[in-house]
Symmetry: C2
DNA sequence: TGCCGCCTCGCTATTTCTGGGGAGTAAGAA
DNA sequence: TTCTTACTCCCCAGAAATAGCGAGGCGGCA
């Protein structure tokens, strides 16, 4: 399958994907990419900032249901492994050594998932996390050839899926609440790096009480229930960096 | 500048980038891309998991020094804005309304940064954060044409920069410490969403003391000084998701 | 089989955090 | 100018977290 000859058709597919306005159209885009590349499966899975999971792709419904029912999310080395990475990864390079992982793999292959796979993780500022996966049944050599040949396309497609998924997410992004003041940011940062209030106040050269005012203020702005929650939210929203 | 005619040359540039093994070579790759696209500046900036900042690109040293000296990191709407996004963004769409931001913009243009810019944020699991930026001096229309025409290339290039930068990062990724047990993860998650220890214990249907054991254990594994610190670390390392 | 890690539970004492209250200055926005 | 917002400081009582001590059962691994 020559890249150049198919480039215009790929462009058309990507444009179709970019204009998708529903999960159903993401689904049909998955099918289109699967057919285009002649692979067994193309899947896009994402977790929005509320922690809700979505998925679309060419997997059999039976497999998807089984996956959820069996709690494979906590076993699947693809999910676990890619969550720690931020570049595309071949399934062969993941850790399949645990017993649960091997059982999962066997089950997956039995459901036609494919012995080869290539997944691209992308993450967002508010805990959004997406995984674009292509899987296939073939030899290591064939798969190597496929992934090296289409790696760049796949990254691009993953990005496009991601952008569409983001738009489908209900408007959480637009500044849910007021921004933190500089001092509030500093105070929250001190707490996030493990300092007690007294230490943090000392570090910022202010009284402990003043620091407390900042923390309380930040907590209020973040709609957090306590300091730990506030720090967690500030981190998740990218307001502070540790 | 036709895309098709230059595609092979672009491929060569990307391959050159992918083989880079030092910051210096990233630097020269920036120059190559700048010349290829005929824009004023190409810059790549990243923050590794230790919070250390790096940058390379075609900006003048004078401007870089001034940027750091003036603390523009905390003012620059590109940094602040892109940190909240996870898709490419045109500088025009950022919030330049604050006084500090306008002053910064004026200073930036005076140092030849360019009135137009396009930045692509990418982030990693352990707080790594990267920004690939192309900036230029031209009209809105010209810039619009450039960004729509080269958007996909730029995303790809950003990814490649990212991958190289990751490889340059000293090996922090490989499991700095033991992983958290499932119950520890659940316990930390409960705290991260704002529950008190008593509430969290209730939610997990265990005694408060048991929950406390998990939290302490997690805190120990994470090398954290207190609960808030532990939650912050667990979040930063992607061990829990809120 | 023995070891190790995980999960579960109880008690006590000390330190720290939380959540109310109020009050004044300085700087930037309307 | 007026008004808001950010920043700074103080007190107090009750709630929560921390740091020790202890125990036993279960399951995987060598």
């Amino acid at each position: 399958m020559g890249y150049l000859a198919n480039a215009p058709r790929l462009d058309a597919l990507i444009e179709g994907l970019e204009s998708a306005d529903s999960i159903e159209r993401l689904q049909s885009a998955s099918v289109a990419f699967r057919d285009f590349y002649g692979v067994n499966h193309v899947v896009y899975h994402w977790v929005n900032s509320a922690g809700e999971q979505y998925g679309c792709g060419t997997y059999d419904d039976v497999w998807v249901d089984r996956y959820l029912e069996k709690g494979y999310l906590r076993v699947d080395p693809v999910i676990q492994g890619c969550y720690q990475k931020f570049h595309p990864i071949d399934w062969k390079r993941l850790d399949w050594s645990s017993k649960a992982a091997r059982a999962f793999l066997q089950d997956a292959i039995a459901h036609g998932v494919g012995n080869q796979g290539f997944s691209i993780p992308i993450r967002g500022p508010n805990g959004q996390y997406a995984l674009f996966t292509v899987s296939h049944i073939c030899s290591d050599e064939e798969w190597e050839e496929f992934t090296t040949g289409h790696r760049r396309d796949l990254i691009l497609i993953a990005h496009c899926f991601n952008q569409v998924a983001l738009q489908l997410e209900p408007g959480r992004a637009p500044d849910q609440g007021q921004p933190l003041s500089p001092r509030e940011v500093e105070a929250m940062t001190m707490l996030a790096i493990g300092l007690s209030r007294a230490q943090a106040a000392d570090k910022l050269s202010i009284s402990e009480h003043t620091l407390r005012v900042y923390v309380e203020s930040a907590r209020f702005k973040l709609g957090a229930l306590n300091t730990t929650h506030a720090v967690a939210r500030a981190l998740s929203r990218g307001l502070i960096v540790v």
